[in-house]
């Protein structure tokens, strides 16, 4: 846990002409983590990922990754006319760290025919070929842009399983963007919420869950309570309100109930309140 972060962004920003796609983005991703990058469309997720893998250069700030990085772009592009075998050859010829035995074993285990053209494979199979291409580079960091989009539930499960196996095997660090929260619950242990080009949340998912509570009670006491705890989101009627607060267990009045939040509630609460933020304090190590 004393390892340097595998990916570190400091004051990172990217401007397209006059519009900032990403601004003032600082985050550190510890080694061995599987990080989910979530946020609404247009939040700058793809921009951040492209900066992380060097496809884009920053307009301001820095982004740095230790070791080799592999990238699976959105829609998992492959050369459609290449056979599976040729796609692996492409990977081998263009990457000095290529593990050819691993690549062929993985493709064989998945039952992908080597002589089939990539364009003729199903979406799930193409995703697996693309994933193999990324994994066989033996990267320290694998970045995936919407890897689960356009896949059926079974293919999503298979892709995630392949990814998780690779993490278990090699201690790979993963950063993946998605807008389907349910796919991330069991697979990710780090959360980055991006909203309007800014990082709102970055941290360990278990710690985030443990650090937030949903408090429900009468509306007239809500303001008093809000002064004691940091309220992320507030919803409810005139009589009863629910506060999603950044707090551990706290003593509450008899009319109040509290319960833990789940990941989806937490993310939605932050996305609804772009001003709220849950970021590690700069002086504290986040790992």
């Amino acid at each position: 846990m004393t390892d340097l972060p595998v990916l570190e962004a400091t004051g990172l920003g990217k401007r397209y002409r006059r519009k900032w796609a990403l601004r003032d983005c600082s985050l550190a991703l510890p080694k061995g983590r599987v990080a989910a990058l979530v946020g609404p469309n247009g939040a700058g997720k793809t921009t951040l990922l492209h900066l992380a893998v060097g496809l884009l250069s920053p307009s301001e700030g820095t982004v740095r990754s230790t070791g080799a990085t592999a990238f699976l772009a959105q829609d998992k592009p492959l050369y459609r006319g290449f056979t599976v075998a040729e796609t692996l050859k492409f990977g081998r010829l263009l990457n000095p760290t290529w593990d050819d035995a691993y690549a062929h074993d993985r493709v064989a285990a998945l039952g992908l025919p080597l002589d089939a053209k990539a364009g003729t494979l199903s979406g799930g199979q193409q995703a697996q070929v693309a994933l193999t291409l990324g994994l066989a580079k033996r990267p320290d960091l694998l970045v995936l842009d919407e890897p689960l989009a356009n896949l059926d539930p079974l293919a999503r499960h298979e892709v995630m399983r392949g990814l998780m196996e690779a993490v278990a095997e090699t201690g790979l660090t993963v950063l993946l963007s998605s807008h389907v929260m349910s796919d991330l619950r069991d697979t990710c242990d780090w959360l980055v919420v991006l909203n309007g080009g800014r990082v709102q949340v970055s941290g360990d998912i278990d710690e985030l869950i443990a650090g937030h509570r949903l408090l429900t009670g009468p509306a007239e006491d809500a303001d008093a309570l809000a002064r004691r705890v940091e309220v992320v989101d507030r919803s409810g009627s005139r009589r009863q309100v629910s506060l999603l607060a950044r707090t551990g267990p706290i003593p509450l009045g008899p009319q109040w109930t509290e319960r833990p939040v789940d990941l989806e509630e937490l993310v939605l609460a932050y996305l609804r309140r772009p001003d709220a933020a849950s970021l590690p304090r700069p002086t504290l190590a986040t790992a």
């Binding site: 921009t47 492209h50 893998v53 060097g54 496809l55 884009l56 080799a68 990085t69 592999a70 990238f71 772009a73 959105q74 829609d75 592009p77 492959l78 050369y79 459609r80 006319g81 290449f82 040729e86 050859k89 492409f90 990977g91 010829l93 263009l94 990457n95 000095p96 760290t97 693309a130 291409l133 580079k137």
Partner: protein, 261 residues
């Protein structure tokens, strides 16, 4: 990278080589028959009718080799696959443009030599003039590969800048035709023409005829001519203009590639 380039453009390479072979075979057969023909002029014309269209062959190079080179990658997103391997973007582009550019130049050169050899089979036919004929000039010497490279560069740049194949094809065709029409006109002025006095008995001089000299009664008394021995000087001038333009376009391509996420 070289395997990659070959594999990606295998079809274009093979089809182009086959087309060149067909053109070569037709020219060869026609040339062999010409020596025994009763009227070599008829034999020449039979092929020239078609051959005179081939100065636009570089458009095909631009459209089939140039435009998809980058636009097809951008359209399918595969450039992100290529650029996130362990080969730098600059090297990726350099190998692709270098290898394919060389192939295009060689193909254009071979085409030029074939046309030249065919012309040489008609020493007695006046129309078989590589300098005086506007089409044959573009298809022989160093101008032939230069035109092909220029077509390739236009197509590649259009694909890189527009990022989509179809519009890039349209732009390539328009730009190429404009430049061709422009250079065909400009070509007459690569050097100051020589004035040759003629009368009814004198033979028309060899070379590129660029104008007539009239007397006060509007009778033709002479011709403005670029003499035949200026062929290579004109060839290098035209090749220089085209290669400079191709270099500029390639620079634009490189900038477009560098900026593309």
């Amino acid at each position: 990278m070289y395997w990659m380039t070959y594999r990606q453009h295998r079809t274009q390479l093979l089809v182009s080589a086959a087309l060149l072979a067909v053109i070569g075979a037709v020219l060869l057969i026609n040339g062999l028959l010409a020596s025994g023909a009763a009227d070599p002029r008829e034999s020449f014309k039979a092929i020239y009718v078609y051959l005179s269209w081939l100065p636009v062959a570089p458009i095909a190079v631009g459209v089939f080799w140039g435009t998809p080179l980058l636009a097809a990658e951008f359209e399918r997103g595969t450039h992100r696959l290529a650029w996130t391997q362990s080969v730098s973007r600059a090297r990726w582009l350099a190998v692709k443009l270098g290898t394919l550019g060389l192939a295009v130049a060689v193909a254009g050169g071979v085409f030029g030599l074939m046309v030249q050899a065919w012309i040489d089979g008609y020493p007695t036919v006046r129309a078989a003039d590589r300098f005086g004929d506007i089409a044959l000039f573009s298809m022989t010497g160093v101008a032939a590969p230069a035109w092909w490279l220029f077509g390739f560069a236009v197509g590649t740049a259009a694909g890189a800048l527009l990022r989509r194949t179809l519009p890039a094809i349209a732009v390539t065709i328009v730009i190429f035709v404009l430049v061709m029409v422009g250079l065909f006109r400009l070509r007459e002025d690569y050097a100051e023409p020589v004035e040759v006095r003629i009368d009814h008995q004198s033979e028309v001089p060899h070379g590129m005829i660029v104008g007539t000299l009239l007397d006060a009664e509007d009778n033709t008394v002479g011709l403005r001519v670029q003499p035949a021995d200026r062929y290579w000087r004109f060839q290098w001038t035209e090749a220089g203009i085209l290669l400079a333009a191709a270099a500029l376009l390639t620079g634009a391509t490189a900038v477009a590639v560098r900026r593309r996420p």
